[in-house]
């Protein structure tokens, strides 16, 4: 192993690529923020929110990559598994409501078990739902599996939306889904319990306040920053798990199934069992992401948060990054959230800070009266526009670059490097090794 720290060598590491993507997006946001004269606190808060959202998408994209990228299982029911994870976690962990208290009429309690138990229950419930869907559906063609999974995710949403399961009794506790009103996260989630209640944390907030030299407390921003760091650690955990899975004998069979299931079967592998395991693992981790989504994004869980649109956002992230690549999944999530999803909204703020945008005409018909009104109308409806752009990006990617950014790479299915690390890259070709 020779020590040559040239940039080119450094670039060969996937971590470098991920970090570079993050840094590029952050730099873009900081520059735009500075141009528009946003206060430092505002810029930092934006970056922290961005990181949080990227972490959530990265978790989901990595789990989807296991199912689609590794095994070739077309799952478009992601929100269904998230919803099951989130709701199960809440129903298990919400504090019970005393039936004699005044709140009993309006509030729905839970079993009051520790949050960790709730999260675990959510993960298991999502995995079990994955099993129920996978057991029969894996025999079907990819497009039938797709339609079955999306139908399942809608059935899940209708069940949570229905007033029939709004309230029921388990072990003498009144629990339920809350129907259309949903459930509030009215307990202390683990990150607060571990970090925020300590004296050291108070010190950190004070230090940040002083360092930033800004008016008002930085506490909310620091809170979110800590949460996003914890979620990034979870993403790293997912990454490690899937990397290990991909390199294991188990992962090799998954990839064989993706390439040609009949061959895998001819070699004596019970492909259905492998597919079910892979599907369940992916669903379990989507359930975990759902539990985090409930605690750190929603605050109050509601069936409308789990519409199929969300599923397709995760798919866009995966396709940008390139299915089959874990690194690509993370990079794709960062680009999706940073550029496509949040970028246009942030741009709108920046432009509004720099220029005075004329008030938008009341309808599209008036917008057609000239270029000025049209731009104003477009600006007013930028949130529609970003989804139109997203659709176009998806189409263009499927036409021009279906492998995304990273999907073209062949990942070695061995746990040990097949070539010497020093020979990686340009030298490898000289050695005559078939590295790629």
């Amino acid at each position: 192993m020779t020590e040559s720290n040239t940039l080119g060598d450094l670039w060969e590491y996937d971590v470098t690529k991920i970090l570079a993507t993050f840094l590029a997006i952050y730099a873009g946001y900081v520059v735009m923020g500075l141009i528009s004269g946003l206060p430092t606190r505002g810029i930092v808060a934006t970056l922290v929110q961005l990181t949080l959202l990227i972490a959530l998408y990265a978790m989901l994209t990595l789990a989807l990559n296991l199912q689609w990228g590794y095994t070739g299982l077309f799952n478009i029911g992601i929100v269904g598994f998230m919803a099951v994870g989130a709701y199960t976690m809440l129903m298990v962990s919400k504090p019970p409501v005393d039936p004699s208290s005044a709140a009993a009429a309006s509030q729905i309690g839970g079993l009051g078990l520790p949050v960790i138990v709730g999260i675990l229950a959510g993960v298991i419930a999502a995995a079990l739902l994955g099993f129920v869907v996978a057991l029969p559906a894996l025999r079907l063609r990819a497009d039938y599996l797709a339609i079955t999974t999306i139908a399942m995710s809608e059935i899940v949403r209708f069940i949570f939306l229905s007033s029939s399961f709004q309230e029921f009794s388990v072990f003498g506790n009144k629990i339920g889904t809350g129907g259309g009103r949903g459930l509030i996260v009215n307990f202390e989630e683990p990150i607060s319990r571990i970090f925020f209640d300590t004296g050291a944390y108070e010190g950190l907030v004070t230090a940040v306040n002083e360092a930033m030299g800004v008016q008002g407390t930085m506490a909310p921003v620091v809170d979110t920053a800590v949460i996003s760091v914890v979620l990034l650690v979870v993403v790293a955990g997912y990454f490690w798990l899937f990397k290990r899975t991909g390199e294991s004998p188990f992962g090799r069979v998954l990839k064989a199934i993706r390439e040609d299931e009949d061959v895998a079967r001819a070699l004596g592998k019970n492909t259905n069992r492998f597919k079910i395991k892979s599907f369940m693992l992916g669903c379990a981790l989507m359930g975990l992401a759902g539990a985090f989504y409930a605690m750190y994004f929603l605050g109050a869980v509601n069936p409308t948060a789990f519409k199929p649109q969300f599923t397709f956002f995760v798919w866009v992230a995966l396709i940008i990054g390139g299915s089959g690549s874990n690194t690509g999944s993370v990079i794709g999530s960062a680009i999706f959230v940073g550029v496509l999803f949040q970028g246009p909204l942030y741009m709108k703020n920046v432009v509004e800070a720099l220029f005075t945008v004329a008030s938008a005409p009341p309808s599209f018909a008036h917008a057609l009266s000239g270029i000025g009104p049209f731009i104003a109308y477009m600006f007013e409806n930028i949130s529609h526009f970003r989804i139109i752009a997203l659709g176009i990006v998806l189409i263009v990617l499927m036409k021009r670059r279906p492998d995304g950014i990273m999907g073209h790479r062949k990942e070695t299915a061995a746990s040990i490097p097949l070539i010497k690390l020093s020979g990686y890259g340009r030298d490898a070709a000289a050695d005559g090794g078939d590295a790629e």
Binding site: A151, M152, I155, I159, S163, S363, L390, G391, I392
Partner: protein, 374 residues
């Protein structure tokens, strides 16, 4: 591909047993449901004949719309080999353009031209005030229906030219993902032009209705029910004749069966594809327009919400079969309404999806299997 599917269906003895168990279980539950219905009708009287009649009629209306829109989806599914997730938003685009024309004709001179064409986007023009209905403004409705069909055909052809044409040889899944992109772009383009507001389109109080006596009560039927019935059945018969009697129909069936063989035989496949979009798009646009007329409301995402039900119908009937799509549509429509007899209304859609999943498990090739586009 077909051989492989069959291999997978008869995979192991265990799977066949589980499939038989599933059929037996479903049949058992079905018998229980029928018995409880009969008990409710004749013994306990908890279900009235008139209520059952209303549910059947309602389900028939929904089923016709789903079936009509399903024909187009089924045709492209079998001829181009992909599940088009943009189909729902084709429905919406056609409906908006068609209703713009209806508003224009019904409200000419009463409001700004742009407002009328945008179906009252900024909330100054309301359909009920214009008194729109098949009996009050027949010309506006019929022209709107025609324009809705034409607009959907235009959208389908433009999207095909821009997106799908260069992807003909790709796998179905790549096309499916691209069609999701089409769905997003179209839906929010509609929201951008027409806004996201939910508008009422017809004036229900002006539509003539009749009470048909039915054993222990009445069944309410209005003029829009009859319009929907007549228009959709007429269009379905037209497609039937087209498929059975014309050369184009034969070419389409040949292509659905084996594209390469069709090409070798001298069938101009590209032009058949174009006609598929035209026929499918026309029916789809009409279905969307009729649904809005029947329901009296129009939103930017109603087609997307309808899409899964249409998929359910198409899969239920067997991909590629137009009769399958019609039958599947009726089964889905009736399931949605009749399920209310046994389970809460909240689960109407869930019941429809449940039936679809059951059929996929028991008979993945659909009810009309092996009779492609016939």
């Amino acid at each position: 591909m077909r051989v492989r599917m069959e291999l997978q269906t008869i995979d192991t003895r265990g799977q066949i047993t589980s499939q038989r168990l599933l059929i037996a279980g479903a049949a058992f539950i079905g018998v229980l449901m029928v018995l409880s219905l009969l008990w409710g009708l004749f013994v306990s009287g908890s279900i009235q004949f008139s209520r059952l009649g209303t549910l059947v009629w309602d389900g028939l209306m929904r089923g016709l719309v789903i079936g009509l829109a399903g024909i187009g989806l089924s045709m492209t599914y079998s001829i181009l080999n992909f599940a088009n997730f943009g189909h729902g938003d084709y429905i919406t685009s056609g409906a908006f353009v068609g209703w713009g024309v209806t508003y224009l004709i019904a409200g000419l001179g009463t409001a700004e031209l742009g407002e009328l064409l945008l179906v009252g986007a900024s909330g100054n023009v309301y359909g009920p005030q214009l008194g729109i209905g098949i009996t009050q403004t027949p010309v506006a409705v019929i022209l709107g229906l025609i324009v809705a069909s034409l607009a959907t055909i235009a959208v389908a052809l433009i999207v095909d030219r821009l997106v799908f044409k260069s992807m003909r040889d790709e796998e179905g899944i790549s096309l499916l993902i691209a069609s999701v992109g089409v769905a997003f772009a179209l839906r929010y383009l509609i929201a951008f032009v027409y806004t996201q507001s939910n508008r009422g389109t017809t004036n229900a109080s002006l539509v003539p209705d009749w009470s048909v006596p039915l054993v222990d009560g009445t069944l309410a039927v209005d003029a829009h029910d009859l319009t929907l019935l007549v228009a959709s059945v007429g269009l379905m018969l037209g497609v039937h004749v087209l498929m059975q009697r014309t050369k184009l129909g034969k070419a389409m069936r040949a292509m659905a069966d084996n594209e390469d063989l069709a090409l070798v035989t001298g069938i101009p496949t590209e032009s058949v594809v174009r006609w598929t979009w035209i026929i499918g798009g026309g029916l789809t646009g009409a279905a969307g327009y009729l649904l809005v007329l029947w329901r009296g409301t129009l939103t930017f995402n109603f087609g997307w919400l309808l899409l899964l039900l249409i998929f359910a119908a198409v899969i239920l009937g067997g991909i590629g079969s137009i009769y399958g799509a019609i039958l599947g549509g009726l089964v889905i429509g009736l399931t949605m309404t009749l399920s209310q007899i046994w389970i809460p209304t909240d689960f109407a859609r869930a019941a429809a999806f449940g039936i679809m999943i059951l059929i996929l498990l028991v008979r993945p090739e659909g009810l009309f299997a092996g009779r492609s586009t016939a």
